[in-house]
Every structure is written in structure tokens, then in C-alpha cells.
């Protein structure tokens, strides 16, 4: 019996000592923190995508609480819904923001921009970009090695094996912008989603002169400026042999699409138009904006 009692006694005493030590340590090193941070962090998506520019969702929550309102801070991944919840917690009104989506501005698919060399090195866009132009010879186009895919925390990007270009899943993309930072050539841009998801953009980044650009890719923007002249809203500018459509001014009339001689301007998610064969018609699998016009351009070129 004595053994049992001594064992119980020893364990109880050590337990009590440890409990006291733990209590004092906890008191001594207590970190006083606004409980609101926890609450805000709770409603944030928790993907730590870095789209807001902060180190993670927790850091973002701290920034929200510290500032006390939402001016200049927004969680692109969470969108309007999260903004509403955070605003409710902070007691302010959320900033209104047009929903955006990542857009791949390159149409250098395997067919359009045929490979002139074979890349045999590290499968990393940033490295290949520092080494040379890439297989197609276009120094501005997609290298197709998937840095954007790896950067995406939401599984919204994938490389289409047929075209070798990244494809954005419109359902999953939250426009956090991680891919735009991961792309060493700045090919991916966050653009307004547009009415009914319909948008028009220039799928090319090539700043070379027309002839040089065409040499590496048949679907390149050659900077001819026809689109800019056609555009009734002045949304298109041509700079350095490259057209750019300002998504805030564009009214999605698609006049430029018909005008473009190389098919570099893409219009996605529009219903098919029979009378204008030049406009790339989306197929049933609409969320494949890059893949679809690729085949159309083939016929044009």
C-alpha cells in the first residue's frame, strides 16, 4: 500500500509544481492582443495567398484592426462577401470594387508560336526567362513552365497540354494577383470581370516591330493600330508596337476583334455570332478563353 500512496503523492506534488510554474510563466509572458484580430482573421479566407500585399491572413487582420477601417485595404481573394463581414466587425462600410479575374495575355500556343529550339533546363519560368527568349523565340510570350500555376493557392490555373499556355478557371480564380507577380514576363493581368463575364483584351505582350513579332508567333499583335482607330470609346492605345485595351473604358462592342489582322484581340464568353466569323466564338466549355481562339487564328493565318 505504501508504494501506491508514495506514487500518488509524488505524482500529485510534481503535478502541482508544474501547474504553478506554467501558470506563472503564462502570466509573465502573456501577450495582450485585441480579440477583434482573431475575429477578423476568422472571416478571412485563410489561404495566405498574399494577394493583399500582407504576409498572410493574420497579418492582414492585424492591419484591418489597427487601421480601424477598410480604406486602402482589401482582400482580393475574399471578394465582396468577406469585405462585408470584415466591415461588419470593424463597423465601417466596405469599399465597392469591381470584381476582377486573371487574364493570360499571350496566345503563343504550340501551333501559333512554333518551337524553334528545345528547352532542356530547369522547369521554371523565371530561370528560363533569364537564360533566353524561350522555345518560340518570342522574348515577351509565355514560357509555359508553370510558375503561375505553382503560385496559385486556389487551384485556378493549369497548363493546357495542347497549347502549352496557362488556363484560368473562372469559377476558382479570386483575382488575388499571386500569378501576376509570379510571371517573370508580366503576361497575366487582373482585369475587370465584365458584364456577364464578357471581356475583350489583347492576348499579346510582344513589343517588337510587326515583322519580328510575326516571325516568332503568328498570333502576335503587330502594332498596326487598326483596333485603336476602330474603337469608338478610345479604350485602345498602341505603344511600343503593342495595343492595350483599358478595361475601364471598354464597352465590349467587339469592333476591334473583327478588325485585328492577326487575331491577337480576344473576346471571351460572348454568345456565338454567325455573321462575323472573325470574332472568336466561345464553345460549350466557355472557361477556356485562351484555348478557343487559338484554333480560330489558325484559319485566319
Amino acid at each position: 500500500m505504501t508504494e501506491i500512496w508514495s506514487a500518488v503523492l509524488v505524482l500529485s506534488i510534481t503535478g502541482a509544481i508544474f501547474a504553478m510554474v506554467l501558470y506563472f510563466v503564462a502570466q509573465k509572458f502573456k501577450v495582450v492582443e485585441d480579440p477583434l484580430i482573431d475575429e477578423v482573421a476568422e472571416v478571412l479566407p485563410g489561404a495566405n495567398c498574399g494577394g493583399c500585399g500582407k504576409a498572410g491572413c493574420r497579418a492582414m487582420a492585424e492591419a484591418f484592426v489597427k487601421q480601424g477601417n477598410m480604406d486602402g485595404l482589401s482582400c482580393p481573394a475574399g471578394g465582396a462577401e468577406v469585405a462585408k463581414k470584415v466591415a461588419a466587425l470593424l463597423g465601417c462600410t466596405p469599399e465597392e470594387k469591381e470584381p476582377q479575374i486573371a487574364v493570360v495575355r499571350c496566345n503563343g500556343s504550340c501551333a501559333n508560336a512554333t518551337a524553334k529550339t528545345h528547352y532542356d533546363g530547369l522547369q521554371d519560368c523565371a530561370f528560363a526567362n533569364s537564360l533566353y527568349t524561350g522555345e518560340s523565340g518570342c522574348a515577351f510570350g509565355c514560357l509555359g513552365l508553370g510558375n503561375c500555376v505553382r503560385a496559385c493557392q486556389f487551384d485556378a490555373l493549369s497548363i493546357d497540354p495542347e497549347t502549352g499556355l496557362p488556363v484560368v478557371d473562372e469559377e476558382k480564380c479570386v483575382a488575388c494577383g499571386a500569378c501576376t507577380k509570379a510571371c517573370p514576363r508580366g503576361i497575366i493581368e487582373l482585369r475587370n470581370k465584365g458584364m456577364k463575364n464578357r471581356r475583350v483584351y489583347v492576348a499579346c505582350r510582344n513589343k517588337e516591330k510587326g515583322g519580328d513579332a510575326r516571325k516568332s508567333c503568328s498570333a502576335a499583335c503587330i502594332g498596326c493600330g487598326k483596333c485603336a482607330k476602330t474603337c469608338p470609346f478610345g479604350a485602345i492605345t498602341v505603344e511600343n508596337n503593342l495595343a492595350y485595351i483599358d478595361f475601364n473604358l471598354c464597352k465590349s462592342c467587339r469592333k476591334c476583334v473583327a478588325e485585328c489582322p492577326t487575331g491577337a484581340i480576344h473576346a471571351v464568353n460572348f454568345p456565338p455570332k454567325v455573321e462575323r466569323p472573325a470574332a472568336p466564338a466561345p464553345t460549350a466549355e466557355a472557361p477556356k478563353p485562351e484555348a478557343v481562339p487559338a484554333s480560330n487564328n489558325q484559319t485566319q493565318a
Partner: protein, 443 residues
């Protein structure tokens, strides 16, 4: 036999073009002369469309500090000033010249006589090197006049001439030593004078007995030139390793050779120095090795810059062999793979190396088995396997803390890796990313 402190590998030497005497390369019809053939900012074109130019005429002026003059290697008419895609497909500013005849600037001494005396003062030598657009011909194309303008708080004690040629295949240094030993020694004497150092050491790897003998015999006639045979081990010719082998000194991390009192120049550079100072001939051509195991004939050419890779290939072998896997500008360990054969050669080009596809294709990568071969091969005592893992997970700052910037990119790690991991690719990427982080921090 002297050698460097740690690491190193023994790639197959393949010096198959040692016997090929240097030939003159025929003139092409039209050329594009790139304005940045050197390390630093591009030169500014100082001719206009339609101008007639002579061989050796200044066509690109160095305006930035880190820059070198560019002279026309051909005579003819300036067709246009535009961009030209270099051998790696990147557009660079260039002057296009339609070649007409071969008319040289009168100031250039084209006689075969060897001019031994040099009466110029050190400052004048450096100025003339700048005027003649001489850059280092070892591969980095560092402007020579900057290297020889020693800051007042630094003092040069050693001049080291790099004739190691530790890269497999390359034989241009071998040939230039065999054929122009005296000119080299005069060039070395001029550089010695420019620095004011008592001795110059010419380091030559021991697998070149003939050049060693020739250079030793010639150096005996000159004051203060010592030929130093070195052990055959790659990268014996890397700047820090060569200094270590010859002087026993170590260039610390982030420092330059001059911080330990050393200046290193390539043997080809010293030949170019001779021609620039004694013959008034600007740097307009280089000796290029055209070699490959599957080629019928091996060549060493005097090639003027601006000649395209395709023209060299067409002249040397007609067409590339059917099984060609890669064309490399430079040696197989540190050279760059050419992606645009229409690109012009530049001051940095030292060879056109044709590698067969059986060698050129990388074997499939497998898991790191932590054999430590990369670590043992690294001449800088770094841990390539660790960088690979850190860079893959984008833990760039940690890689920086492990001194990723010390890497000299010699390629020993990838060469020796049994798992075929692209270690150097990952390290280069890591270095680039880490430099970006450092730049951002500075701002």
C-alpha cells in the same frame, strides 16, 4: 604542381583542335555589329545611316562608365541602326553594315613585323586600351581599361595571365600561345608596366606541354614573366581559383582580386593588348575554336565580330551534323547554348562548339541521395544540394544566408550530380532572386 584549395572536377578534356593552325575567316556580305558586346552599358552609335566606314573605325562610343568602345570590324556602308537579335534571341542595339571590300584605317599597322618597344606611360596605356575598346577575352568581357585603373587606395602586387584554358574542347588560347608567343609576352610586359608590378605569372594547365615549352622559352627573353604550369583540374581558370593556385591568396567573399593585390587577365587579352598598343589595332576580332566530336575537321579561326554563327558553321562544316544536339558559344562547362544561329558573334565569343545530341540531352532528374558529391566538387565550399532545395521552395533569404552569391557558376555541382539535378540552374535562379531581394531592401 600548384592547384587551388578545394573542390574541382575532371571533365573529359577533348582538346581535339589543338593542331589546327589559326586561319583567316572570309568576309561576310552584311553584318550587324552589336553595341553591347561587353559587360555594362551599350555603346552609343556614332555613325549614321549611309556613312562609309573603314575597318577599325570607331562606330560605337563608350559614354557610360562601365562600357567599351566598339570599332567596325569591316569596311562598307552603314545600312541601318536598329536592333538585332543576338545569339540568344534577345534584341540588342546594333549597327548594320553592308560589307564592301576590306579597307583599313591608315593608323593601323598591318605589317607582320613585331614591335617590341613601348614608350607609353602607365596612364597612357590604360587610355589607349580604352580607346581601342579592349575587353577581357576570357568570357566575362570586362572592359580592360577599368580593370587596369587601380583605385588609389589599392595596390597591385601580382599580374596573373590566365592561359589555363581549363574548359574542355577550347583551343584558342593554346593556338595563340603556339603562334604568337612573342606578341603575348610583349602584351604582358605592357600590362605589367601599366600596373607597375615586378612580376607577371602566366598560368598554364599541365595538359598543354607544347605551349608551356614555347612560352617558357619566350618568357626567358623577357624580364619578370614567369610561366607557371598548373595541375589539370577544372575550374583552374576561374579567377579566384587561379589566384589561389598561383599566389596562395584567397579573394574573400564579395571582394575583387585587386583587394588581395592581384589582377587577372586572359592570355587572349594580352595578345589584344599588344595589337592595340603596338599596332594601333582596335579589338575587332578574336580567335574562335570551331570544334565538336562529330565534325569532320576542327578549326581555329580569326573571326571578326559580327560574323553570324550560321556563317561560321557554313564555312567550317557546310551544315551541322544530323545528330547535333546543341551549339555552344564558349566551353561546355560555362558556355551558353546558342538558340539563334543568325545571331552575330561578339567580343566574348571564344568558340563554336557542336555537341552531339547523345551528350547534349540532360538525363532525367531523380531524388537527391545526399551523396555530397556536389559539395565536394564545389571549389567555393558551398552546399549546392541545399540551395537546390531552398530555391525550389523559394526560401531565398536562407539561401542568401548560406552565401549563394559566392557561387562562381563553374558548374562542377551539376557535372558531378548522380541524380542529374539541375543544381546550377536552381542556384542561378536563386542568385537572381536574392539579388532582387537585396535591391528591394536597399530602396
Amino acid at each position: 604542381m600548384k592547384t587551388f584549395a578545394m573542390g574541382g572536377v575532371h571533365p573529359e578534356e577533348n582538346k581535339i583542335s589543338t593542331a589546327a593552325v589559326i586561319e583567316e575567316f572570309p568576309l561576310p556580305k552584311t553584318v550587324a555589329i552589336l553595341m553591347n558586346q561587353h559587360l555594362g552599358a551599350p555603346a552609343t552609335p556614332c555613325v549614321a545611316k549611309g556613312d562609309k566606314v573603314k575597318v577599325g573605325q570607331l562606330i560605337g562610343k563608350a559614354e557610360a562608365f562601365m562600357c567599351a568602345n566598339v570599332h567596325s570590324p569591316f569596311s562598307g556602308t552603314v545600312a541601318k541602326i536598329d536592333t538585332c537579335k543576338d545569339a540568344f534571341g534577345l534584341a540588342k542595339p546594333a549597327i548594320y553594315i553592308t560589307v564592301e571590300g576590306d579597307e583599313w584605317e591608315e593608323s593601323i599597322d598591318r605589317t607582320p613585323d613585331i614591335k617590341r618597344e613601348c614608350s607609353l606611360e602607365p596612364k597612357e596605356i590604360v587610355d589607349k586600351l580604352k580607346e581601342m575598346g579592349v575587353v577581357g577575352l576570357g568570357g566575362a568581357t570586362f572592359p580592360t581599361h577599368i580593370k587596369y585603373s587601380i583605385a588609389p587606395d589599392k595596390k597591385a602586387e601580382y599580374l596573373i595571365i590566365n592561359a589555363v584554358e581549363c574548359e574542355p574542347y577550347l583551343t584558342s588560347d593554346h593556338r595563340v600561345m603556339m603562334e604568337h608567343a612573342e606578341e603575348i609576352c610583349i602584351g604582358v610586359s605592357i600590362l605589367r608596366k601599366a600596373l607597375g608590378v615586378p612580376n607577371a605569372y602566366i598560368g598554364i594547365e599541365n595538359n598543354k606541354p607544347e605551349p608551356i615549352a614555347v612560352m617558357k622559352a619566350m618568357a626567358a627573353k623577357f624580364e619578370g614573366i614567369i610561366v607557371e604550369p598548373l595541375k589539370v583540374k577544372y575550374p583552374q581558370g576561374a579567377e579566384k581559383q587561379l589566384i589561389n593556385a598561383i599566389t596562395g591568396r584567397c579573394v574573400p567573399s564579395g571582394k575583387l582580386p585587386i583587394d588581395v593585390g592581384c589582377v587577372v587577365s586572359n592570355v587572349g587579352t594580352s595578345y589584344a593588348v599588344y595589337e592595340a598598343i603596338q599596332k594601333n589595332k582596335p579589338l575587332i576580332e578574336n580567335i574562335l575554336t570551331v570544334t565538336g566530336k562529330k565534325l569532320e575537321s576542327q578549326h581555329n579561326y580569326h573571326v571578326r565580330f559580327g560574323t553570324t554563327y550560321n556563317e561560321i558553321i557554313a564555312h567550317a562544316m557546310g551544315t551541322l551534323p544530323e545528330t547535333t544536339g546543341k551549339v555552344i558559344s564558349g566551353g561546355p562547362m560555362m558556355g551558353k547554348a546558342v538558340s539563334n544561329l543568325d545571331g552575330p558573334t561578339t567580343k566574348g565569343a571564344s568558340s563554336v562548339l557542336v555537341i552531339d545530341e547523345s551528350e547534349a540531352t540532360r538525363a532525367e532528374e531523380s531524388n537527391c541521395i545526399r551523396c555530397g558529391k556536389c559539395m565536394n566538387a564545389c571549389p567555393m565550399g558551398l552546399e549546392p544540394y541545399l540551395f537546390s532545395a531552398l530555391v525550389k521552395n523559394r526560401r531565398i533569404e536562407e539561401a542568401g544566408a548560406h552565401n549563394i552569391l559566392d557561387c562562381i557558376e563553374c558548374g562542377c555541382c551539376f557535372f558531378s550530380c548522380p541524380a542529374n539535378k539541375p543544381l546550377l540552374d536552381e542556384i542561378r535562379l536563386g542568385k537572381n532572386l536574392y539579388r532582387g531581394i537585396l535591391m528591394a531592401k536597399k530602396k
